[in-house]
């Protein structure tokens, strides 16, 4: 599967307007269910781009790999901040591995990544 929405956490961005995951999905796959929670039309259509994951202000969306590709494996959450994106990979044992990537603005001098 592609993504999973945590209905406890989703508050449709606290707005009557278009929630951001619904706005940003490049396949226009996200919609709001009658219970006011975000959902995906069909995970088969998902490209795994994580646009919805990163833009969600309440961290309610996580990405999962299709089981046909990887058994169990890791899940991914992320958050797009102004100048960086933070990522949280949840591993098999439940531990987290966190990353940060620059996203906008002048890049730091990085001689050796």
């Amino acid at each position: 599967m592609g993504i999973r929405v945590d209905e406890e956490a989703c508050n449709r961005c606290g707005t009557a307007e278009e929630p951001m995951c619904v706005r940003d999905c490049p396949g226009d796959l996200m919609f709001i269910k009658p219970n006011d929670k975000a959902a995906i039309v069909d995970n088969r259509e998902c490209w795994d781009c994580a646009a919805c994951v990163k833009v969600c202000p309440s961290q309610a969306i996580e990405m999962r790999l299709p089981t046909s590709l990887v058994v169990r494996g890791v899940t991914l959450k992320g958050r797009a901040m102004k100048h960086k994106t933070t990522w949280q990979l949840r591993l098999r044992d439940g531990e987290h591995d966190d990353y940060e990537t620059p996203s906008t603005g002048r890049s730091p001098f990085i001689p050796n990544l």
Binding site: G27, E45, S68, V74, T85, R92, T101, R106, S107, F109
Partner: protein
């Protein structure tokens, strides 16, 4: 659903992806009075190829490089079939456009001397996770009107055959849009989903190219009789298997060698005559297939000896472009941390695509980026004749197209209106699946199309090879499939969009098969692999294979010679068993 909305503008940009967003900004900066409209299938913040981000700019002139040296590199990679005029004019714009997008907020790491970090021959490192929102917001701020969630379905022509607008359908509300424009620039991208994908079932969309790029712009042009080029050059990515992640991040950035199952660096050891590790892109894929046939497969990227800290950098890079690959990579590292071993990173080819940014296929355009239809320009993946454009090349091409289109708009040439009957025909066609007369859901016909193309037109299942006999069957089955298209059925605007995705792919597939059948040689292994004509024949086939659909529906094939700028370029040899003919003489390859 169904009501008609009308718009008018000076410049209509169809597709708000990499090319379209930069085109909008360029147009508004050049002429702040210009009425610019961007028509976008999804939303410009994350639509198109750059949705997940990218971690490199792959068309950039390093210090010491020039448009001429860039052209030499492209000619070698495409075995000679490339448009020199398109390549030189585009290359001259590359660095300027990269600097421009950097000034909009794209982080590009630079060394002490201010040079971007080199990642390959024409490639630099970037932090591109936010690239698409940066472009989309800039396009919005430019003052161009953005019409999100309208899927283009047809070109509107006046009596003289000039393109005077585009029509489309709202993907959320099913409304029919008619947009009249002084000039139309197509930036709709290439086509994915024509072939059966590497991953079936629930993972079907884990593919290299955007599955939402379905060839709409190509299909509209085909129906209007525009000249198309080189569809037979099908781009097939060599990727990390399953993750479908680019190999460059590991091969170039981590310096991991490409090895076969025996642990040999096979590119150098067995295919030195092709150029070893610097062989052309398609031969890299072909060599990997040959290793399997020789009993030395599968092939891998060798991560033994890679510093784990650098692996972290690779995972971070994947997060910024192909997050699912980062997940798979991190899961493998987990095993290594717990006393197991990382599975070797297996590499394999994906499914073929019709795409002009990596490959050669798309609209036949002139140096000003005009198509063969008056009033219509093309830029980016939808335009053909010059591969290795990638994102920065799409920006450069968009800018070139806009400059010329604006000149023509200023000239204020008389343009007619589309005929009302023409608009009505397009409306009927666009909305037909909603009429309740059909019974076939889009996915069924999509799977039928992908099955035919995979089995009879050199898909993954056939290891990309095909012969005339199979193409004849592909043609037959595609004709039958076309008879079924009027029976497509949709009950929502979203399903209607899916119906159009299939209609567009089917249109592209028919032309693709004719191109594949016309070129009776093998010039680009795997991309264009004729099992019944396994030789490259420079005496006969140093030509572009083009096509134009005629009013009676037949596809007319056209050959256009390669116009070579005076450059001293040695074409590379073909692999095993192939023979190269040069001006009548034959000699076997080593």
């Amino acid at each position: 659903m169904g009501e008609t909305v009308e718009h008018r503008c000076d410049l209509l940009i169809v597709g708000g992806g990499a090319a379209g967003c930069v085109a909008a900004v360029e147009a508004r900066e050049r002429d702040p009075d210009l009425d610019v409209l961007v028509m976008e299938k999804a939303h410009v913040y994350r639509s198109g190829c750059l949705a997940a981000g990218i971690s490199a700019i792959n068309a950039y002139l390093h210090r010491g490089e020039s448009p001429q040296s860039f052209l030499r590199y492209v000619i070698r990679d495409t075995h000679g079939i490339v448009r020199d005029d398109l390549t030189l004019s585009l290359a001259a714009e590359l660095n300027e456009q990269v600097r421009r997008v950097e000034s909009w907020g794209l982080p590009i790491p630079r060394d002490e001397r201010g040079q971007p970090l080199r990642r390959g021959r024409a490639s630099i490192k970037i932090f591109g996770e936010r690239l698409k929102p940066i472009l989309g917001k800039r396009a919005e701020a430019s003052g161009a009107a953005i019409l999100n969630r309208v899927n283009a379905t047809g070109l509107l022509l006046d009596e003289s055959g000039r393109v005077v607008g585009v029509c489309g359908v709202g993907t959320r509300d099913g409304r029919f849009h008619v947009i009249r424009a002084g000039a139309v620039l197509l930036c709709t991208g290439g086509a994915a989903g024509i072939y059966r994908p590497s991953n079936p079932g629930v993972a079907a969309h884990r593919m290299w190219y955007s599955p939402f790029n379905t060839g709409a712009g190509l299909s509209m042009g085909i129906r209007a009789g525009a000249e198309m080029t080189s569809f037979e050059y099908r781009f097939i990515p060599l990727r990390i298997k399953d993750a479908v992640a680019p190999t460059g991040e590991i091969a170039q950035w981590l310096g991991a060698p490409q090895i076969n199952a025996l642990g040999e660096p096979y590119l150098d050891k067995h295919y030195a005559e092709l150029g070893g590790r610097s062989m052309p892109t398609q031969d890299r894929l072909y060599a990997t297939l040959l290793e399997k046939r020789a009993g030395r497969g599968p092939c891998y990227l060798d991560l033994r000896g890679v510093n784990p800290r650098r692996l972290r950098g690779t995972i971070a890079a994947y997060l910024s472009m192909a997050p699912s690959s980062a997940m798979i990579m991190r899961d493998e590292a987990y095993y290594a941390e717990h006393g197991g071993a990382m599975a070797p990173v297996e590499i394999a080819g994906g499914e073929p695509h019709v795409v002009g940014g990596h490959g050669l296929s798309g609209y036949w355009i002139d140096e000003r980026r005009r198509t063969s239809l008056e009033g219509l320009w093309a830029a980016g993946d939808v335009a053909g004749g010059m591969p290795k454009k990638y994102a920065s090349g799409a920006w450069a091409e968009a800018v070139l197209a806009v400059r010329d289109a604006i000149e023509q708009i200023r000239d204020g040439q008389d343009r007619g209106d589309p005929e009302p009957e023409h608009i009505e025909r397009e409306r009927q066609r666009a909305l037909r699946p909603l009429a309740g007369e059909g019974s076939i859901p889009a996915r069924e016909l999509e799977e039928r199309l992908q099955k035919v193309m995979d089995e009879y037109a050199g898909g993954i299942g056939q290891q990309y090879g095909y012969s005339g006999g199979e193409l004849a069957l592909a043609r037959l089955h595609l004709e039958r499939l076309h008879d079924e298209l009027p029976h497509l059925s949709a009950s929502t605007p979203f399903e209607l969009m899916q119906c159009h995705d299939v209609l567009d792919r089917a249109e592209v597939a028919r032309v693709l098969v004719e191109h594949m059948d016309h070129r009776k040689e093998t010039r680009w292994h795997c991309y264009q692999e004729r099992l019944d004509h396994p030789e490259r024949d420079d005496g006969r086939w140093m030509v572009f294979v083009n096509s134009a659909r005629q009013p009676d529906g037949t596809i007319q094939m056209i050959e256009r010679p390669v116009q070579r700028t005076k450059l001293d370029v040695q074409l590379p040899e073909l692999a095993d068993g192939a023979v190269i003919r040069r001006r009548g003489s034959t000699r076997p390859s080593r």
